[in-house]
């Protein structure tokens, strides 16, 4: 869930009243935000709904709070005036970054709080909704310095040089991507293209090179800036349009007059943003009561919807709901029902313990695994629990087995957890290695899952692995243990000599069940012991649980 922060002083002045700590926390919960902490003037919030883009802005939170607290309810009204500004879209942007939206905001009064609030909003939108600027990258400019119309076009890597934000000298796009910190951070978004998107005004001045960096000349906002030009570029027009609405309404809430910008995508394809039209949906009070288990009347629901800052009025037998243009999360009637529930208050709803007569049942393989665990503990083996993820070093190199295949993770966060273990033995040996200082004998086991790669398919396999470490051991001990385990389970097996990399040659055996190998046991090879820093000899066995379970079940029927 996204985290953000707002200033208490700013909140107070926008809300028109102050809230004490308790009021603040409970009101924020009603607005799907949790107060994570207060430090001086800063209130840290976690937004509990990743689809509520509008709650990334202080203005959006205040708008919602006003409804929750009853200060201002119903659909907030926003107006767009024509601004005469235009963005002409060059078809060449199609392959690299096809869409652009824009608006003007006139008469902005940019207090320090306001600037920091918008910068914070821009940053949060870039990282969350904008998916690290891939889906949406936003730019703010001083409208008075731009000579319209603006062109959204492309440039060559050695083309339009300009002074990027925070710099003093001109740089070509190519140099920005290699030398400028923002350029390096976002270069991957332009990788593989031989031309880059660029925004130019009618005099050829560079506004920005989206999604990387603004111009220092046109794209620097100060408390003196009075009129803004805002644009956003990305891959999907609808997503951009919603994002722009969030920005434009946030600007409007501090008194800016929003101007529409014409976007000329083609001779017959001219669009205007921002689009503040509302979507109309219907809420059936019967559905609402049925889902919530309440018996509210329609007018009560209308009141609650209005507190949630939705437009709501009766229409035939249902409620006609208008969804404000900054909300992209209302997809279904249940989304409106949740608004009603949240505004009504979860704590006002009496819980009902469902009386549903069903028969509980455990999974049979889980039960069988439990039986294995019970027997192993009875045989004196301490149960351990380890991770399924491991590293190639542990799974194969440490086991004298470099020929192994295993399921690899494409994007591991660390090499230590980069593959799914194909068997449990390395995990158990690692455990012994970490306990070399503890008194021997050490008898341990794990029943757990491994993932095997066979015929290009990944299969989750339940395995049991046991190990016996002592200053003196004999293979008959592990054989006796395995046989006791299997005979207690009611399973008849044969044992045949075998060889396997982790075991000493001539001291390993396959456990055969109807001509199929279901396990292996033996004495661990000294090289393997050394890899795991185990100072004593170790006997170990590893068994596949499923085939043993099947055999036992077959014979008991």
């Amino acid at each position: 869930m996204p985290a953000t922060s707002i200033f208490a002083s700013d909140l107070r002045s926008l809300l028109g009243r102050s809230l004490d700590q308790k009021e603040l926390e409970s009101a924020m919960l009603g607005c799907k935000a949790r107060v994570e902490g207060v430090e001086g003037d800063e209130i840290k919030l976690e937004i509990m709904d990743s689809n509520r883009v509008d709650l990334l802005s202080t203005e959006g939170i205040v708008r919602t709070l006003k409804g929750y607290l009853g200060i201002e309810t119903g659909l907030p009204k926003f107006k767009v005036r024509p601004s005469g500004s235009q963005v002409r879209v060059d078809p060449k942007v199609k392959t690299v970054r096809p869409c652009v939206v824009a608006c003007c905001a006139k008469g902005v009064r940019l207090s320090d709080e306001a600037i920091s609030s918008y910068m914070n909003l821009q940053e949060k939108m870039h990282t969350t909704y904008g998916r690290g600027r891939r889906r949406m990258a936003i730019g703010f400019y001083d409208l008075d310095l731009i000579k319209p119309p603006v062109a959204y076009t492309v440039t060559r890597p050695d083309g339009h040089a300009f002074v990027p934000l925070g710099c003093e000298e001109e740089m070509t796009p190519e140099r920005i991507l290699t030398d400028h910190p923002k350029g390096r951070e976002f270069a991957h978004l332009l990788e593989g293209f031989d031309h880059y998107p660029i925004l130019l005004d009618s005099q050829g001045q560079v506004l920005s090179m989206p999604p990387v960096i603004n111009s220092n000349t046109l794209g620097r906002i100060t408390p003196e800036t009075q009129n803004l030009f805002v644009e956003a570029t990305g891959m999907d027009f609808r997503a951009l349009s919603l994002g722009l609405n969030v920005l434009a309404t946030a600007l409007a809430d501090r008194g800016a007059k929003i101007g529409g910008v014409e976007l000329v995508y083609g001779r017959k394809d001219v669009r205007v943003t921002p689009d503040f039209s509302t979507e109309v949906r219907a809420l059936d009070p019967i559905h609402c009561n049925r889902l919530l288990g309440l018996s509210m009347d329609r007018n009560e629901m209308i009141g609650l919807l209005r507190r949630a800052r939705l437009g709501a009025r009766p229409f035939n037998r249902v409620i006609r709901v208008q969804v404000p243009p900054y909300r992209g999360d209302v997809m279904h009637e249940t989304d409106l029902i949740e608004e009603v529930a949240v505004m009504h208050g979860y704590r006002r709803m009496e819980p009902i313990r469902p009386r549903i007569p069903t028969v509980g049942r455990t999974d049979e393989l889980e039960d069988f695994s439990d039986a294995v665990r019970e027997i192993m503990v009875g045989l004196g083996f301490q149960e351990i629990m380890t991770f399924v993820l491991t590293s190639p070093q542990k799974a194969s190199a440490n086991m004298r087995n470099r020929q192994m295949s295993f399921v690899e993770i494409e994007n591991p966060s660390t090499e230590t957890f980069s593959i799914f273990r194909p068997d449990l033995l390395p995990s158990v040996l690692e455990f012994l290695g970490r306990n070399a200082h503890v008194a021997y004998p050490q008898l341990v086991f794990e029943v757990g899952d491994a993932v095997e790669l066979a015929d290009g398919r990944c299969t989750t396999i339940r395995k049991a692995c046991l190990a016996w470490a002592d200053s003196k051991v004999n293979v008959t001990q592990i054989r006796g243990t395995v046989e006791s385990l299997l005979s207690s389970l009611g399973c008849q097996v044969r044992v045949e000599p075998t060889s396997a990399p982790p075991f000493i040659e001539g001291r390993a055996a396959s456990v055969m069940l109807d001509e199929v190998e279901v396990g292996i046991f033996g004495e661990i090879h000294p090289e393997v012991l050394t890899s795991w820093q185990i100072p004593v000899p170790v006997l170990a066995a590893e068994l596949e649980v499923l085939p043993i379970y099947r055999a036992v079940r077959k014979s008991s029927r």
Binding site: M48, R131, L291, G293, M331, Y346, M349, D363, R373, E408
Partner: protein, 440 residues
């Protein structure tokens, strides 16, 4: 009659025990050097590990066992001799046998042995005692009962010598179930007793079950590389050959007949067939719904899930989720609150709890369960729940309300086991495991 004599006693410290078992650092080093005649310092560091190597070189040099020339360790004659004799090692051996070592001061200084004064009190019989003892000498009461005595019934005449039951006894060695596993077992039993059926499934999962069937759009942030492990080989699996795949696609694209607008994008079956490390146990609920349920139905799973993260005291890269579903005609949001209340009381044993609005991509309305922990003096999140969206249930052929719930079972286990580092759930500490309490 008592007589006290005081003498000095030496015992091995844990470090001494270790040196006796593994060899003294300088002996290990000499052994290594003498094998090749000489050894660069770098290799010694590598062979013994930094800490040990530093001690070993220091000691060996102080004892005149080696010299260092241009960063190469060369044994002295004395060193070569010491290699076979290992003089300090045999002194440790002496201590173990209870003897007094010649080089006690050196061993003490190195913290290998400890010295203590032991007072021995010898009791001898006074003449009166001697007289009494001759009477007791006739005592043939049984010390160890043996089969012979049992068979003949001789014990009836002889009686038993009493033992001092308060005398110290050696600790028994035994094995236990892993404490965290035991907690999960207990949770499982409770859920079964509440009428839930257990679900299980693969650790490597199709994105379809992990995300698409749960109405998480293909550009949903949870699907990005920072939040989901993608499998390299094989990168893709095959989608189920079933009608619901098409319905899921249409629901994503335009809402199908669920009454939703859908996500309004072009759904890719290739992306849905991507293989990922299961990130949420809810994937099992989706599989169960698609497999057909016979309401009323209640299911649960305790599922291992995987998330890219940094391993620290608060985060694991793989952990367990306990969650499930309840499907029945006429279920409401208030029933859902009732379920959560039951979990708070029956499973978490908390009596002060609260419901707060939340968000899950696949449920609406959604709620989180908070409980006030007296132990921690704060509200903690125990779990979350919601009613599955129509966009989840309808494409999978389910047309009744389905409550989905989940519990932070790892956190509950930490409370129960008194742990404050989540990594200890998968403890590598054999002594801790052996000594853990069976009843937390």
């Amino acid at each position: 009659m008592l007589r006290d004599t005081t003498r000095t006693r030496y015992v091995l410290t844990p470090r001494g025990e270790e040196a006796l078992r593994d060899g003294l650092p300088e002996d290990l080093l000499l052994e290594r050097i003498c094998r090749t005649g000489e050894l660069p310092i770098g290799q010694a560091l590598e062979a013994l590990g930094r800490d040990l190597a530093v001690i070993a070189v220091g000691q060996a040099k102080a004892q005149g066992l080696l010299k260092i020339e241009n960063g190469i360790l060369i044994p002295t004659e004395q060193g070569k001799q010491a290699r076979s004799e290992r003089p300090l090692h045999s002194q440790l051996e002496e201590v173990r046998k209870g003897g007094e070592p010649g080089a006690a001061e050196i061993l003490l200084k190195r913290g290998l042995i400890e010295r203590s004064l032991v007072t021995e009190r010898v009791a001898s019989l006074t003449p009166e005692g001697t007289a009494a003892s001759s009477r007791i000498a006739a005592d043939d009461r049984i010390v160890d009962l043996d089969p012979e005595t049992l068979r003949t019934g001789a014990w009836k005449e002889r009686g038993f010598k009493p033992f001092d039951v308060k005398a110290p006894a050696p600790a028994a060695r035994f094995a236990k179930k892993q404490p965290y596993r035991r907690f999960l077992d207990m949770t499982r039993r409770k859920l079964v007793s509440m009428g839930f059926m257990e679900m299980t499934g693969p650790l490597v999962e199709l994105a379809f079950w992990n995300f698409d069937a749960l109405f998480q759009a293909q550009n949903h942030p949870a699907r990005e590389i920072h939040d989901t492990f993608r499998i390299r080989n094989p990168s893709h699996g095959s989608l189920p050959r079933a009608g619901f795949v098409k319905k899921v696609r249409m629901t994503h694209e335009n809402g199908w007949t669920t009454g939703s607008t859908g996500w309004r994008y072009s759904w890719s079956s290739r992306e849905a067939s991507r293989l990922v490390g299961r990130t949420q146990g809810t994937a099992l609920s989706a599989r169960t719904l698609a497999g057909g349920i016979d309401p009323p139905a209640k299911y649960f799973s305790i599922a291992r899930v995987f998330r890219p993260d940094v391993l620290d005291r608060n985060h694991l890269i793989e952990f367990n989720q306990c969650e499930g579903i309840i499907a029945d005609e006429g279920l409401t949001f208030r029933h859902l609150l009732g379920i959560l209340e039951m979990f708070a009381v029956e499973i978490a044993h908390e009596s002060k709890y609260a419901f707060v609005p939340s968000y899950y991509p696949f449920t609406e309305p959604s709620v989180d369960l908070l409980a006030y922990s007296e132990k921690q003096g704060q509200w903690v999140e125990l779990g979350g729940a919601g009613i599955f969206r129509d966009e989840v249930t309808k494409p999978l052929g389910v047309n009744i309300p389905v409550i989905a719930w989940g519990m932070g079972v790892d956190r509950l286990a930490m409370f129960s086991l008194g742990l404050d580092d989540i990594r200890e759930l998968f403890s590598h500490n054999l002594e801790w495991l052996r000594n853990s309490r069976v009843v937390p």
